[in-house]
């Protein structure tokens, strides 16, 4: 069976014909669109390495069928920097050493962007830890990750205030 779908991925319209309905959003991104920044960790919704934004919301792309996402707007780690400038969350992960081996990092960053946009955690470390619990880091870089999310949250709030003024 051939199933045509159209998605927006990192701002670009992409037309894809699925030859198999089993393709997950994760495999579509990695294997068909060659966007390998999104990682496959457990492939079962337990680790968060595959986190992307779908219509602005963070989800596990391994537990989403591509066929169900016809018309969706997808943002992956490849799409968050603006030109040559890192996204504030990316910059904060570097500043606070929120990475070790780096495998979970794209998922951590996409999850943090989603968390900050949701706006429920503020800069409360306990709420950030709870809000980031869907992203495992087997190196254990959590202290740096939480600090990075706090700083990014403050920087993004400041940018928002500046724009509103």
């Amino acid at each position: 069976m051939n199933l045509p779908i159209r998605l927006t991925v990192n701002g670009e319209l992409r037309d894809v014909v699925l030859d198999d309905p089993r393709v997950t959003l994760l495999d579509l991104l990695r294997e068909r669109l060659q966007l390998t920044g999104t990682k496959k960790g457990c492939d079962r919704g337990q680790c968060g390495a595959c986190t992307v934004l779908v219509d602005g919301r963070r989800v596990n792309s391994c537990l989403a069928l591509a066929a169900s996402h016809d018309g969706a707007d997808i943002l992956t780690i490849e799409g968050v920097a603006q030109g040559g400038e890192l996204h504030p969350v990316q910059a904060a992960f570097i500043a606070h050493d929120g990475c070790q081996c780096g495998y979970c990092t794209p998922g951590q960053i996409m999850s943090a962007i989603g968390l900050i946009a949701e706006g429920h955690a503020g800069d409360d470390p306990e709420r950030i830890r709870e809000g980031m619990s869907g992203n495992l880091c087997r190196c254990g870089a959590y202290v740096g990750i939480i600090e990075a999310v706090r700083e990014a949250q403050k920087n993004l709030a400041a940018i928002k205030t500046e724009r509103a003024a």
């Binding site: 309905p21 989800v59 537990l63 066929a67 409360d124 306990e126 619990s133 869907g134």
Partner: protein, 350 residues
């Protein structure tokens, strides 16, 4: 994952017609179903994708005071809906204590009701499991069963229902609205899930091809809003299923309990409404000795199904704590660690 046919109907009627095919299963967001398919536990011949059916993603306040939640409302959207969180705080707390933020953004209310057990023998296709393969036996009996059921289990199955959401839904008399080939019907969420008996392969009382289209909370559920909590003990503080959990709601007038609602999670194949405990609470003082008696009443029929006798005591302590916290009053703001006994205010240490 097995090969399957994928269909995306445009209406509820088309979906029900499409699901009449043998081996058909509804797909909502897939957070549980795709996981089960990847593990070879479920092998549907046809997936009927209902994730975009129109009109099922709304939270409606009806004229009679009921709240009607479309089956495709996402868990996160329901939990964070300001009006809903204010009127049904224990349900919001239960939702936010479940899974991870990513899963809550995807998972739907209807799908949550129909998720399968997380019994590791159900998930392991090399193990005997009467729920997965009827008649094959139950390797959880005599296996690693410290997290299994202590109420309502049978010799054939000791699995538990994993939902957090269903626990306060059962406590507050929620109703599932169901559509099927023979029209529309309603069933109390409390009666939606089945105890295993001799047919553990059937999780629910739904007939083949029936579709949950909404969950309705009766107006009376709002009456508990100022004294309602969900409490959940997990093996880690976040992103874990309940070892035991409790949803408690009280109506208190001058220190006397006018009405009580109590349901338990993690201890049976269905969310467990504790009516004996509710009866023990009604008309009594909101006091520790009363809460303790209610907790004992709730677990009076419990018996271990393996190395899990500790859950009987643990469930009583969670009930005691949930009632104590509910009596103290619903917090103004959702706790940083929803449903966690480790973020309780001072004075609730029993």
């Amino acid at each position: 994952m097995n090969q399957f046919e994928y269909v995306r109907p445009a209406s509820v009627a088309d979906a029900i017609a499409a699901a009449a095919a043998p081996g058909a299963t509804y797909l909502a967001s897939g957070t549980n179903l795709l996981d089960l398919m990847k593990g070879g536990i479920m092998r549907p011949a046809r997936l009927v994708d209902v994730s975009r059916l129109p009109g099922l993603d709304r939270i409606e306040r009806l004229d009679n005071g009921d709240v009607r939640i479309g089956a495709l409302v996402r868990n996160a959207d329901l939990a964070h809906d300001l009006d809903f969180a204010r009127s049904h705080p224990a349900i919001s707390e239960a939702l936010l204590s479940g899974a991870s933020a990513q899963l809550r953004n995807a998972a739907t209310v209807g799908g949550n009701l129909l998720q399968r057990t997380r019994c590791s023998y159900f998930y392991d296709t090399a193990s005997a499991c009467n729920k997965r393969a009827p008649g094959s036996g139950c390797d959880a009996r005599g296996g690693d069963n410290r997290l299994h059921a202590v109420l309502g289990w049978s010799e054939g199955c000791i699995a538990t229902h994993p939902s957090d959401l269903c626990v306060p839904l059962a406590a507050f008399d929620a109703i599932a609205e169901i559509e099927g080939r023979h029209g529309r019907r309603e069933v109390a969420v409390e009666a939606l899930h089945r105890l295993p008996g001799a047919t553990p392969e059937r999780d629910s009382t739904l007939e083949p091809g029936e579709l949950i289209v909404a969950v309705r909370l009766p107006a009376a559920a709002r009456g508990f809003a100022s004294h309602a909590r969900y409490l959940k003990l997990r093996e880690r503080t976040s992103y874990a299923f309940a070892v035991v959990s409790a949803a408690a709601g009280l109506v208190i007038d001058g220190g006397t309990i006018k009405e009580a609602r109590l349901a338990l999670g993690g201890i049976a194949a269905k969310p467990w409404r504790a009516r004996e405990a509710e009866a023990a609470l009604a008309g009594a003082r909101a006091a520790p000795a009363v809460f303790r008696r209610a907790a004992e009443a709730a677990l009076a029929e419990a018996k271990p199904s393996g190395a899990n006798g500790f859950k009987i005591e643990l469930a009583q302590r969670i009930i005691l704590r949930a009632l104590t916290l509910a009596a103290a009053g619903t917090p103004d703001r959702m706790p940083a660690l929803p449903a966690s006994p480790f973020s309780s205010p001072a004075g609730a240490t029993q």
